[in-house]
């Protein structure tokens, strides 16, 4: 299996000049294509910081991070935007869909950013919303959808750009049990059928139960890495 994410001695220190806070202390990780990985740990352990750095949203203070063979720790903010658009799909805890766009337009939007032709966009939007079971909700805006439905639109949006992997930051934190189960079923299916790589940060036992690899972070270090 090819390596999708590789971190080497990732260190992140906030407030370097005043009272330094060590969020990550030399994290080394390798995540392969097709993995279904949960990064877990208590609040303040550094899991969100790690996810931000893997997602190119933040730069490490030290260390190197390679995504799909590219060292992103040296990329400028503008190049990182391009990189994220092409290689990474994001699913956020609060869904973060564009409130004024419909489900269809939210999914289409990311392909528009990639300047994909209209025909291709329309076809893919239909496929994806069908896949996440929202064929009938295509023209509804986020406020007309339930939390679970919004999160499924967010998954469809994340998939729309044909990313190398999907980063999901506590994707089930705002969902009820049924919606959580549906979402996890969907992600597991995508992982199995399309070999899509998923990396979650989570507190949720239900997510941990479904993950095939659990990386535990505490005090900014990897304290355990269990593959099942």
């Amino acid at each position: 299996m090819s390596i999708v994410i590789k971190t080497q001695n990732i260190t992140k220190i906030y407030n370097e000049t005043a009272v330094p806070v060590h969020a990550l202390n030399g994290v080394d990780l390798e995540i392969h294509k097709g993995e279904f990985t949960a990064i877990v740990g208590p609040s303040g352990s550094g899991k969100s910081t790690l996810l931000n750095i893997i997602g190119g949203l933040d730069n490490p203070t030290e260390g190197k991070i390679e995504v799909d063979g590219v060292d992103i720790s040296t990329l400028s903010q503008n190049k990182l935007i391009d990189f994220r658009q092409k290689k990474i799909g994001f699913v956020f805890q609060a869904y973060n869909l564009i409130p004024v766009l419909t489900a269809r337009e939210n999914v289409e939007f990311i392909m528009l950013l990639q300047n994909r032709p209209k025909k291709e966009r329309d076809k893919r939007v239909e496929e994806l919303l069908n896949e996440v079971g929202l064929k009938d909700q295509i023209n509804k805006r986020p406020n007309q959808l339930s939390g679970g439905q919004q999160q499924r639109v967010a998954v469809a949006r994340a998939l729309a750009s044909h990313p190398k992997f999907i980063l999901a930051d506590e994707p089930t934190a705002n969902l009820d049990s049924k919606s959580t189960a549906n979402l996890l079923d969907l992600m597991a299916r995508l992982n199995k059928e399309e070999n899509m790589t998923f990396v979650f940060s989570t507190h949720d036992q239900r997510v941990m139960d479904r993950a095939r690899r659990i990386i535990t972070i505490d005090d900014g270090r990897v304290v355990s890495d269990i593959k099942r």
Partner: protein, 406 residues
């Protein structure tokens, strides 16, 4: 298209705030357009009073006449000059005049008067003396009678049928004296003119001043003020520069031009202040919008929307607000401007007197000129376009990870 849709829907996310912002822009444009329309209307009234109803948009004189207005500086009304109106299609009339001063007397009263020898038919294109008659009737080209301005008639205690005595100096020092029956009394809106005008038929005036077939001025009328420049150029090209001077109304009444320019400048200052105040309001909206959507900007950046694109969408949103406000402001002000152009308000009493003292007809009239409205829209859109750069600046300084933490 989706970007435009996004911008359009974004501005309606907070309907109340958007409506208040649009209303403030609408009010500014409405108020400024109406004020400008009133200003331009009053200028056009001043120009009409001074130009359309008195001097004409341009005049042909003997060279040097304007510096030394004397009957000796008159010129012969040649065949070529009689055909001058044909030199440009925009010239609607060329009106011959002989003007000089005379002592006007009746019984034991006398006063200096401005004597106008006019062609009764052609002068209807400019001074329209027949329409200003308060008493009596208009004269014909062959008549030997006078029409006297109301103020002068009152001073000299003249009525219809009375005799007016005129004494002056004619062409090359000839004696000029005559007794004329008063056939009409006319009222002129400008008090200065109303106190001193006496009209004679052109032929009689030429005889009176011993200036047969001579004129002091040939007034030129065009349909629209904009056409004046072309018409003057056409006339100049036909006439010898050595012999004649061709002047437009701005050259003949520079004080009026200065007065209008000064008033226009002070108006501009007022509008600038108004727009600065409205600008602060719009900026407040932009600040709120930028701060409210900080997290969303972060998310958009995270999923790969380039800063420039995001900045442009927010810029379009603000400019849309400006455009909607400006268009609505214009749409509201045009019918009102049009109404007061067609139905000007006539002042009475002290207000009327103060207008008349400034030499302006006591009317409140608007002008309906598209450039007035488009200018207001231009300034509003320019202002919003500049203010809309603020979110772009904020977006460029934003890091997605910080923005999403908001």
């Amino acid at each position: 298209m989706l970007y435009l849709k996004l911008a359009w829907r974004n501005i309606w996310r907070n309907k109340r705030r958007t409506l208040i912002t649009i209303a403030s822009i609408l009010f500014a444009v409405f108020f400024a357009s109406l004020m400008r329309s009133l200003q331009e209307g009053s200028y056009s009234l001043m120009v009409d009073n001074m130009v359309s109803f008195f001097s004409g948009y341009g005049q042909v004189h003997k060279k040097g006449y304007w510096d030394e207005k004397h009957i000796n500086n008159s010129f012969e009304y040649t065949e070529a000059l009689q055909q001058i109106a044909a030199s440009d299609k925009n010239i609607t009339a060329s009106v011959p005049r002989i003007e000089s001063f005379a002592l006007a007397a009746n019984e034991d009263r006398s006063k200096g008067a401005m004597v106008f020898g006019i062609s009764p038919e052609e002068e209807e294109h400019i001074m329209q003396v027949s329409k200003k008659l308060q008493e009596g009737s208009y004269f014909k080209a062959e008549d030997k009678s006078v029409i006297v301005a109301q103020g002068l008639a009152q001073f000299l205690k003249l009525g219809i049928g009375d005799t007016l005595v005129l004494i002056s100096q004619g062409y090359h020092g000839a004696n000029a004296a005559g007794k004329y029956p008063v056939v009409g009394i006319a009222k002129f809106p400008l008090p200065e003119l109303n106190k001193q005008l006496v009209f004679l038929p052109l032929k009689e005036a030429q005889w009176f001043y011993a200036a047969e077939n001579r004129l002091t001025s040939l007034a030129i009328m065009v349909e629209k003020p904009k056409q004046m420049e072309g018409a003057m150029a056409a006339i100049k090209s036909k006439l010898s520069e050595e012999e004649y001077e061709v002047m437009n109304w701005q050259e003949m009444t520079p004080e009026l031009v200065q007065q209008i320019d000064l008033d226009r400048s002070s108006g501009k200052m007022m509008f600038a202040i108004l727009y600065v105040i409205i600008g602060f309001g719009i900026f407040g909206t932009i600040l709120m919008m930028t701060s409210e959507r900080r997290k969303e900007f972060g998310v958009l950046m995270a999923i790969g929307m380039k800063r420039l694109r995001m900045g442009l969408v927010t810029w379009v949103e603000v400019v849309m607000l400006g455009l909607i406000g400006a268009i609505l402001g214009i749409l509201c002000s045009i019918p009102i401007s049009y109404y007061f152009k067609v139905n000007p308000i006539r002042f009475t009493g002290d207000m009327a007197k103060s207008y008349e003292n400034f030499g302006i007809e006591p009317l409140l009239q608007t002008a309906v000129d598209m450039s007035i409205y488009f200018n207001q829209a231009f300034w509003v859109v320019l202002m919003t376009s500049i203010l809309a750069l603020y979110p772009i600046y904020k977006i460029y300084r934003m890091r997605p990870v910080d923005a999403m933490r908001t």
